[in-house]
């Protein structure tokens, strides 16, 4: 009889182990299958340390329209929208209720700074240390741009480069309407 008991426990343990393994793999698959953040979802909290050393966190972004642009110096499509983004920033910079943030994804600082210099970008930009911000937004590549409304919700997502200045301003103006 004791031999039968041991075997039963062994089987139960084996099944339990297999079941937990399946649950873990399932959870990982579910999290991997989630696409980029979509309209209506709450934007994740994040802090960006800019190349100048300034830290921009949730407190600075609260109650403002925030444009988060993921880019990299090695990314050719990013160059297509760089000038338009800077022009858009110059349009809204004086208002105070619109913030642009450039999040530099897996890049080297030297090339990133050269890129910012080349396109004369003046809005805050910083490296995405540990790719934490990229993962929090569940981004899938560069360039990708997220617009966050004053309530902290994702209001607009652009996969790929903006085609022109009007495309950017149209998306932002919609969020500034009373």
């Amino acid at each position: 009889m004791p031999a039968v008991k041991t075997s039963l426990w062994g089987k139960m343990l084996a099944w339990l182990f297999l079941a937990s393994l399946l649950v873990l793999v399932g959870l990982q698959l579910v999290s991997a299958q989630k696409g980029v953040l979509t309209r209506g979802e709450m934007a994740p909290d994040f802090s960006l340390t800019t190349f100048n050393g300034d830290v921009i966190g949730p407190d600075e972004l609260k109650g403002k329209v925030v444009l988060v642009n993921f880019w990299a110096s090695w990314c050719k499509p990013c160059e297509q929208e760089a000038e338009a983004l800077q022009s858009a920033w110059e349009t809204y910079a004086s208002r105070g209720d619109v913030i642009f943030l450039g999040v530099d994804y897996v890049d080297t600082e030297k090339e990133a700074l050269a890129y910012l210099e080349r396109f004369q970008i003046t809005y805050p930009n910083g490296p995405d240390l540990g790719t934490n911000i990229y993962r929090a937004f569940r981004a899938r590549g560069v360039p990708e741009t997220f617009l966050i409304n004053k309530l902290g919700e994702i209001a607009f997502v652009k996969i790929g480069p903006f085609q022109n200045l009007v495309e950017i301003t149209t998306a932002i103006d919609r969020l500034l309407e009373p």
């Binding site: 110096s73 897996v106 790719t131």
Partner: protein, 158 residues
């Protein structure tokens, strides 16, 4: 003549001082092999499953240059890995660090091997003892009362 000799002496002294200062600040330029030896253990998140030494994208070229720059600055191999993890996250490493969910990668294969060995061993042991050799009813299982009754009935038959 004296002025010329003095100027040469000053120039030489300056060259030696500047040269030694530069040598102290930066190491020798690393060879491509040295850079690739480290790059082979790193993966660029942009290019799926391609080690950094074999990756041809602009991002990978920048990263290899970064490794060369860090080696020139005197970083050790481990310090370079640490730098890349800090900058770009642990997914850049060829072998993920043994922490959190990553433990599964290290624990699962040996656990599965142990389980497989256990069940295989058990199966082999059962296979070794053919069912025909086993007594139909174990004596231990039978109570002495029934045993005595059975033996009595067998005797009566004879």
């Amino acid at each position: 003549m004296k002025i010329l000799a003095l100027s040469l002496f000053v120039l030489l002294t300056c060259a030696i001082v500047i040269g030694s200062a530069a040598a102290q600040g930066e190491g020798p330029t690393p060879s491509p092999d040295e850079v690739n030896a480290i790059a082979a253990n790193l993966y660029c998140p942009v290019c799926a499953n391609v080690p950094l030494d074999a990756c041809g994208t602009a991002a990978c070229a920048q990263w290899r240059q970064q490794i060369a720059d860090l080696l020139t600055q005197g970083y050790s191999e481990q310090q370079i890995y640490d730098y890349f993890v800090q900058q770009y996250g642990p997914s850049v490493l060829a072998t993920p660090p043994a922490e959190g969910f990553n433990w599964l990668i290290y624990l699962l294969p040996p656990t599965l091997v142990i389980f497989a060995a256990f069940f295989l061993g058990r199966g082999l042991l059962k296979w070794k003892k053919p069912a025909g050799n086993k007594p139909f009813v174990s004596r231990n299982v039978m109570s002495s009362k029934y045993s005595r009754q059975l033996e009595k009935q067998l005797k009566d038959r004879r």
